[in-house]
């Protein structure tokens, strides 16, 4: 079942008389129950897309539905179904975690006793009990993030939208947040999250879309994306004789799973399909020809390779 669907969603702004197309056309669909990553460098249109999906911005053109409800004609109904944690978080610093949560519950129409009970439940679930009655402005970054997440979960939304949830978090809080997102997902919440960390998208997301310059350049599972785009790299360290390079090239020429082969005086580098399966076959062939293999290295492509391939730029460069 599709929970979130967009068709050619676009947004342009007028900035000092100039038309800026922040999002040029985003088409994607998120299945109920998955963790979906929305990946791209700063300025690619992630946040603008997020703001449209959370009903904060009206698009210039295109459509979007959440749980089958039109996002822009029935915004109010959509707001009941989604939970949103923005980059800034949005907890009120002068109020305590408990007060923030109770008020947020009231915003979703809970009665006061229900809101109090729900706040208590969330404070326990997110390990905030000890600091529940201190002003949230006194919290550490990690504690604040937990409260932000709790605020987004008050009404048990079907779809949780997280905007750069781990930006500026320490590694420990980051690990905690990953665990928490997985737990929420296991309990049935669909998660849609933006990130510009590739390792995060890789570790957490079941599917992802990469946005660049206002358009989705590719969508799929992290493994699919990596496989379809680059292929694995095998590096063989051999005991070289004068003819070794040519010899190996001749041996492996016929193998259809090998895309390319190059060599120098120390090593042979191959790009192959399904490296883990190809490696034993290659080793056997070389061994049979009495070429001595000293070292073997298999590297799988990273999402950075995918990004590089799709956009011609490295995500790390773009992020800076």
């Amino acid at each position: 079942m599709i929970i979130l669907e967009t068709k050619e969603l676009a947004k342009s702004f007028r900035v000092r008389g100039r038309l800026v197309e922040a999002v040029k056309g985003v088409t994607m669909s998120v299945q109920a129950g998955e963790i979906f990553g929305f990946l791209g460098p700063n300025g690619a249109g992630k946040t603008t897309t997020m703001r449209m999906l959370t009903t904060l911005l009206k698009p210039s053109s295109g459509q979007a539905t959440i749980a089958g409800i039109d996002l822009f004609t029935n915004s109010r109904q959509v707001r009941e179904k989604i939970g949103y944690v923005s980059q800034a978080g949005g907890a009120e610093g002068a109020s305590t975690a408990r007060e923030n949560l109770i008020l947020q519950g009231r915003f979703y129409g809970l009665s006061l006793p229900d809101a109090v009970a729900r706040a208590k439940e969330l404070l326990a679930a997110l390990d905030l009990e000890q600091i529940a009655d201190r002003p949230s402005s006194s919290y550490s970054g990690g504690q604040r993030r937990r409260l932000d997440l709790a605020l987004g979960m008050v009404h048990k939304p079907k779809l949780l939208l997280l905007d750069e949830p781990t930006a500026a978090l320490d590694p420990q809080s980051r690990a905690w947040l990953w665990t928490e997102v997985r737990r929420l997902n296991a309990e049935g919440t669909t998660v849609f999250m933006t990130t510009h960390y590739l390792d995060e998208a890789d570790a957490l997301c079941q599917r992802l879309a990469i946005i660049d310059d206002g358009r989705i350049v590719v969508e799929g599972t992290p493994d699919d994306l990596k496989r379809q785009i680059v292929g694995d790299t095998i590096t063989l360290g051999l005991q070289f004789q004068p003819e070794t390079g040519q010899q190996v090239q001749a041996l492996l020429q016929e193998q259809s799973y090998i895309h390319s082969l190059e060599y120098d005086e120390q090593a042979v580098r191959l790009v192959v399909d399904r490296g883990a399966e190809a490696l034993p076959k290659i080793l056997r062939l070389i061994d049979d020809a009495n070429v001595h293999v000293q070292t073997v290295e298999l590297s799988r492509p990273s999402l950075d390779d995918v990004f590089l391939k799709q956009t011609g730029r490295s995500l790390r460069e773009s992020a800076n």
Partner: protein, 253 residues
């Protein structure tokens, strides 16, 4: 119905927050009270000059100060608001099903209640200093103060949503506030002013609020300044609230 519930919910919330840290409310009162204590006595010698309105120095000055309180007190609500914008509080609220109207009205209601509280203290101090105004007139001029507060608060929020920056807002306020105050005849009545200033002040809506309050304080309920003051403030307050509601609906907060 939902708008009413949500407005009440937010009003209570904002009121609690303000009462928890009432510094701004007290600071807002400080200036008019200093004016009352240190400037009102300076007016006494000229209260008998030709052209000085009826009501004696303090009777003329206090209604002006009420208007000044309405302007300055309401302008400064934006500083807390901008901090909230930056922390994403408004954005979080706008993603909940809260009524959009309530997002504005809950705040404005809090601002108006705080303003009425300040105005009551101010009139109380003036009374201790010898003000003897028509009680019904004072009560009716509070309505002018309410309209004025709605106008200034809502315009402040709308401007804050456009500028989103304390420094920019402070510059705009500094630029506007002195001419507005001088051209309202708050400190010295405009009846003492040369013609050209009186003409310029004729287009300053706050001058109408001052004239209406002054008339009410001396019990001149049928003075045309009264209905004119209500009309000008009423229409502008309505437009101001409309502007604020629109800005909150679309705001890029």
């Amino acid at each position: 119905m939902q708008s009413l519930r949500d407005t009440w919910l937010l009003f209570n919330h904002y009121l609690t927050m303000t009462m928890r840290n009432p510094v701004m409310v007290i600071v807002g009162l400080f200036q008019p009270i200093v004016q009352l204590l240190l400037f009102a006595p300076l007016l006494e010698p000229i209260a008998n000059t030709e052209g000085f309105p009826e009501g004696g120095s303090i009777g003329v000055f206090t209604p002006g100060l009420l208007v000044m309180l309405g302007i300055t007190g309401s302008l400064f609500v934006v500083f807390g608001f901008i901090a909230e914008l930056r922390a994403g509080v408004l954005e979080r609220m706008r993603v909940t099903p809260l009524s959009r109207l309530a997002l504005v009205l809950g705040r404005l209601l809090r601002d108006v209640v705080m303003l009425l509280l300040q105005a009551t203290v101010l009139v109380g101090v003036a009374w201790l200093m010898g003000l003897r105004a028509d009680p019904a007139g004072v009560a009716l001029s509070m309505l002018i103060v309410v309209l004025l507060g709605l106008l200034v608060s809502s315009c402040s929020y709308a401007v804050a949503l456009i500028l989103q920056d304390e420094n920019a807002v402070a510059s705009v306020l500094n630029f506007l506030i002195l001419p507005i105050l001088l051209l309202s005849g708050i400190t010295l009545p405009l009846t003492l002013a040369p013609n050209w200033i009186q003409n310029v002040a004729g287009v300053n809506p706050f001058a109408y609020a001052v004239d209406a309050s002054r008339a009410l304080f001396i019990g001149q309920f049928s003075n045309p300044a009264v209905w004119q003051g209500y009309l000008v403030m009423g229409v502008l307050a309505f437009l101001g609230v409309f502007w604020a509601v629109r800005s909150f609906r679309q705001g890029v907060a």
